[in-house]
């Protein structure tokens, strides 16, 4: 928001105030995430800044909690479980969701609204309700306390994100392109792989990222249906926070912030590529 030169003094003052307010809100958004990063290097088992840290004494900082994290069998197996569950459910959700989105974006799709509402519903239904429902049902199906059960549950939770992002990409999709490919002799399959897929790829990838982070961050459902063999990172954190808060949790938190920065950067790259492909230059 540029301040016009013709603005009166009062307006200028207001404009600066406004920026100040916005800066405070941004601080509220990001500040907490920044606070934990230095705390995770605390040499002492405290959750707050020690005097040494404030005076920037080198021996007040240490990698102790990171060391604890990377040498703990419980945490390492949690990472492994989180990755297995995250990747499998992402693949399932992405494949099912992408096909469904292709169908939903067709002009000829009947009852589009109803189908869409059903497909989005796992995102809207409170997690505790989904978790309770799945707990009862999966127990009956002998799926509780198994990897298959947790993966299926997370697939359900990831699907809305894939459907939403892929349909959004497809809504800008020019159908004449497929027709052109067809009329130039490409089979429908070939046209799909050569024309449609590259164009919706960004949507698919960002949908997949959403699905992955949903699974990677999910606690409630895992809490109800997972067994001891399926302890994930969030479960490990959850019990850590409830029982004994050790700064190891902060080290994990810092690492997870780094993961989200990576994901965010990937998404941003995809978005830019997408805009380029569509012939839109990002407005400067």
């Amino acid at each position: 928001m540029a301040i016009p030169s013709c603005a009166t003094r009062g307006e200028r003052l207001w404009a600066w105030c406004f920026r100040g307010i916005c800066a405070l809100i941004f601080l509220f958004l990001v500040g907490p995430l920044l606070v934990i990063i230095p705390l995770s290097f605390n040499a002492e088992p405290y959750f707050t800044f020690t005097p040494g840290m404030l005076n920037l004494q080198p021996d007040a900082f240490s990698l102790r909690w990171y060391h604890e994290f990377f040498t703990s069998e419980a945490w390492l197996s949690a990472i492994k479980n989180s990755l297995i569950i995250g990747v499998c459910s992402t693949v399932l959700a992405t494949v099912l969701g992408t096909f469904a989105a292709l169908g939903l974006s067709s002009r000829h799709m009947p009852f589009k609204g109803v189908f869409m509402a059903v497909l989005i519903s796992p995102m809207i239904v409170p997690l505790i309700i989904s978790a309770a429902a799945m707990f009862f049902f999966f127990s009956k199906m002998q799926l509780s306390q198994t990897f298959a059960g947790v993966i299926l549950a997370h697939t359900v939770l990831g699907i809305p994100f894939v459907v939403i992002t892929v349909t959004a990409t497809l809504s800008g999709f020019d159908n004449t392109l497929t027709r052109a490919a067809n009329s130039l002799g490409a089979s429908p399959t070939r046209a799909f792989f050569k024309v449609v897929l590259p164009l919706v790829a960004p949507g698919v990838i960002s949908g997949a990222l959403f699905a992955f982070i949903t699974s990677f961050d999910e606690v409630v459902v895992v809490l109800f249906i997972a067994g001891p063999e399926q302890r994930t990172i969030p479960i490990q954190m959850w019990s850590g926070i409830r029982e004994q808060i050790s700064p190891t949790i902060l080290a994990v938190a810092t690492l997870l912030v780094a993961v989200s920065v990576l994901l965010l950067a990937t998404l941003e790259l995809i978005r830019r590529r997408n805009e380029r492909l569509r012939g839109m230059t990002p407005a400067e």
């Binding site: 127990s139 009956k140 002998q142 509780s144 306390q145 067994g227 001891p228 409830r242 029982e243 004994q244």
Partner: protein, 360 residues
């Protein structure tokens, strides 16, 4: 005495090791220091002897829910479950766990006393084999009170004037209601009689009202030592073993108020249909030497009389364990035995009332 013990153990080991092929046992317990003591006293020797693999599952806090769900699913993955007797009564009534004939399944004492005589009176249940006697006690951080004004009675919990500060209490009616009544003047022996009446319940809640704003409610057994160590609270209710371990292993300045301790048993149950599979482990883990050994690692009293006699010092130290046991004479004077039958009947309603009280 000692020689016979060792001989029996060796003999038992020899006969057992020939029987079964190595298998994996999923054992559900409480986690933390308690699971550690079981690991050292029962699991490690058993694994060494048989080659079995034991997986620890820290789900005892929700064991009844887990048993119900797994039984309903027809897919019970747990083999042995550590449970409170009150839960075991319900699980047994509902047919979720196997009936255990103690004299047939378990080992006799080294002198040949059958299990039904060797375990503490009324401690064996239809489906329940006790391991230990533990106690819910009130603990405090000695550095928070002047030496000459240290609390020694349960009344201190409700005495905000002389003992200010927050209190950490477990988020359930059990123990808290008993303590409220005792602090209000009810004799420890009459607590459950009074609690059976509407006036008694109201009286307990009225007493709890006086400290309600000063209570932090905990749900996990690991929290109270943590809260005491951080000096977030002046008093915390806790399991006596956790407090003992924190003060010995981590040099925390904790002390226990044994007045009006609420003690109860804790022990094994076997999910329905699993008894054949785990019989040998169960007999081994509840034999006299193993139960006595557990007391080297945590200050819970063995549930067998023959084991109590063997309790000596804490592993690797010369700390005599006996004075730290709930059953030790001076500690036991005003003890309350948790009435499982009372709570089996009234827990549903009193929990409801307790929760409503919490958020009023």
């Amino acid at each position: 005495m000692k020689k016979t013990t060792i001989a029996t153990a060796v003999l038992a080991g020899l006969t057992l090791s020939g029987l079964a092929q190595a298998q994996t046992l999923n054992i559900v317990s409480w986690g933390g220091a308690y699971s550690d003591s079981q690991q050292k006293a029962y699991h490690d020797p058993w694994m060494k002897k048989t080659g079995d693999k034991i997986v620890n599952i820290d789900k005892s806090a929700n064991a009844l829910a887990g048993l119900r769900a797994q039984t309903q699913a027809g897919n019970v993955t747990w083999d042995v479950v550590d449970m409170l007797p009150s839960d075991a009564i319900i699980a047994c009534d509902e047919g979720l766990i196997d009936i255990i004939d103690a004299d047939k399944v378990l080992e006799p004492a080294p002198d040949g006393t059958p299990p039904s005589k060797d375990f503490l009176e009324n401690s064996l249940g239809e489906c329940f084999v006790p391991q230990i006697v533990y106690s819910n006690i009130l603990a405090f951080n000695t550095s928070m009170f002047p030496k000459d004004k240290e609390p020694d009675s349960i009344k201190a919990l409700f005495d905000l004037e002389n003992y200010p500060g927050k209190r950490a209490l477990q988020k359930k009616p059990i123990n808290n209601m008993e303590w409220a009544l005792v602090a209000d003047g009810v004799a420890p022996d009459d607590v459950y009689e009074v609690l059976s009446t509407e006036e008694g319940v109201a009286r307990a809640f009225k007493k709890l009202d006086t400290i309600k704003d000063h209570v932090i409610w905990w749900e996990e057994g690991a929290q109270p030592p943590q809260l005491l160590a951080d000096k977030e609270v002046s008093f915390a209710s806790a399991y006596n073993g956790r407090i003992f371990n924190a003060s010995v292993n981590e040099n925390q300045p904790f002390d226990i108020i044994w007045d009006a301790q609420v003690f109860e048993l804790d022990g094994w149950v076997v999910p329905a249909g699993k008894l054949d599979r785990v019989k040998d482990y169960l007999a081994f883990a509840t034999a006299t030497p193993q139960l006595a050994n557990q007391a080297k690692y945590i200050s819970y009293g063995p549930a067998r009389k023959s084991s109590s006699a063997l309790v000596s010092t804490m592993d690797g130290t010369d700390i005599d364990m006996k004075p730290h046991m709930p059953t030790y004479g001076p500690n036991f004077k005003t003890a309350i035995r948790k009435d499982d039958a009372f709570w089996a009947d009234h827990l549903d309603e009193l929990s409801q009332r307790f929760n409503a009280w919490l958020s009023s």
